[in-house]
């Protein structure tokens, strides 16, 4: 099972890890993200982040105090890279009313892969973005129809791409 963390969820993960390393109490969202992260460590789940998010983590890793902490995270989280047709699908999603940033992360969950290049897309996008979740659910039929139409015009393996479920971390069944 593959799950892409959007930027804010990845931020909550980092902030939450930092807070428990500081003996501080994480926020509700950070706790939900930490719990999700901990559960994924025990199961057959691969977590992914987008390259811009990875850049932030790598910058923090340059501060010696955080180097090992960031290595701890990056050993457990993969970086999803856009693959062929990512931009085309992101444009389609923008046409359906998603913001530029939302369209990019949602498109990465359909046309994204990791360093092995042997996977295509994600099962889930984990996000706390209520409006994005609602819009995704509301436009589900249209989104599916647009992807089906696009898949008819593109070669394998890209024509096997699927849309992910877009849910809050605590709603993802593991």
């Amino acid at each position: 099972m593959r799950c892409l963390l959007d930027k804010v969820t990845a931020r909550y993960l980092l902030q939450g890890l930092r807070k428990i390393g500081e003996q501080q109490t994480p926020t509700h969202e950070e706790i939900a993200t930490l719990d999700f992260f901990a559960v994924t460590l025990q199961g057959d789940v691969r977590l992914y982040i987008a390259p811009p998010t990875a850049n932030v983590l790598l910058q923090l890793a340059q501060t010696p105090r955080y180097t090992v902490l960031i290595q701890f995270v990056l050993r457990r989280v993969y970086i999803a890279r856009p693959v062929r047709y990512f931009t085309r699908w992101a444009r389609r999603l923008r046409d359906l009313g998603f913001t530029r940033e939302d369209a990019a992360i949602l498109a990465l969950a359909t046309f994204g892969s990791d360093a092995t290049d042997e996977t295509l897309g994600m099962d889930y996008v984990a996000t706390f973005d209520g409006p994005m979740i609602n819009h995704w659910i509301t436009r589900q039929t249209t989104i599916q129809a647009r992807l089906t139409a696009m898949r008819a015009d593109i070669p394998a393996p890209y024509n096997q791409a699927l849309i992910p479920q877009v849910l809050r971390p605590q709603e993802i069944i593991l």
């Binding site: 593959r2 930027k7 804010v8 931020r11 890890l17 930092r18 428990i20 390393g21 500081e22 003996q23 994480p26 706790i31 939900a32 930490l34 719990d35 992260f37 901990a38 390259p51 811009p52 998010t53 850049n55 932030v56 910058q59 923090l60 501060t63 105090r65 090992v68 902490l69 290595q71 701890f72 890279r81 856009p82 693959v83 062929r84 047709y85 931009t87 992101a90 530029r100 990019a104 992360i105 990465l108 046309f111 892969s113 092995t116 290049d117 042997e118 996977t119 295509l120 897309g121 994600m122 099962d123 394998a156 393996p157 890209y158 096997q160 791409a161 699927l162 605590q170 709603e171 069944i173």
Partner: protein, 122 residues
């Protein structure tokens, strides 16, 4: 008498792919054939608070180990040249902008790569 165990020739994820490709009528038929699915779907998937606390406690041990068992303090540096305390005082919007600035990369402008011809879809 020992109970025989049926081993599925495919993974749950592969079954999910097949179900996702079914039309609504086929999915309804599947629910009639496997009524347990409806019941499982109606059960709350959330983990209990106690489970979450246990998970976070396990993480706390691991995180502290990465920090040499010396907890961080609010005046230590964090992101963007800010201390932890300064960072935490930022609004969500300001944190968002700081992350965008530090990312230094626009996902929409990234070069697309090719995947292996046998890439496994989600």
């Amino acid at each position: 008498m020992s109970q025989s165990t049926l081993t599925l020739p495919v993974s749950v994820e592969q079954i999910a792919v097949a179900i996702k490709q079914m039309n609504r009528e086929e999915q309804r038929r599947l629910l009639k054939l496997v009524p347990d699915l409806s019941q499982a779907a109606s059960e709350p998937p959330v983990r209990t608070i106690e489970e979450a606390q246990e998970h976070i406690e396990q993480l706390r041990v691991q995180v502290l180990a990465t920090l040499g068992n010396q907890p961080l303090s609010p005046d230590e540096p964090f992101l963007g040249g800010l201390t932890i305390a300064q960072y935490d005082a930022l609004t969500e919007q300001a944190k968002d902008e700081l992350w965008d600035l530090l990312a230094g990369l626009d996902l929409m402008e990234m070069e697309e790569i090719e995947v292996n011809a046998n890439a496994l879809p989600a």
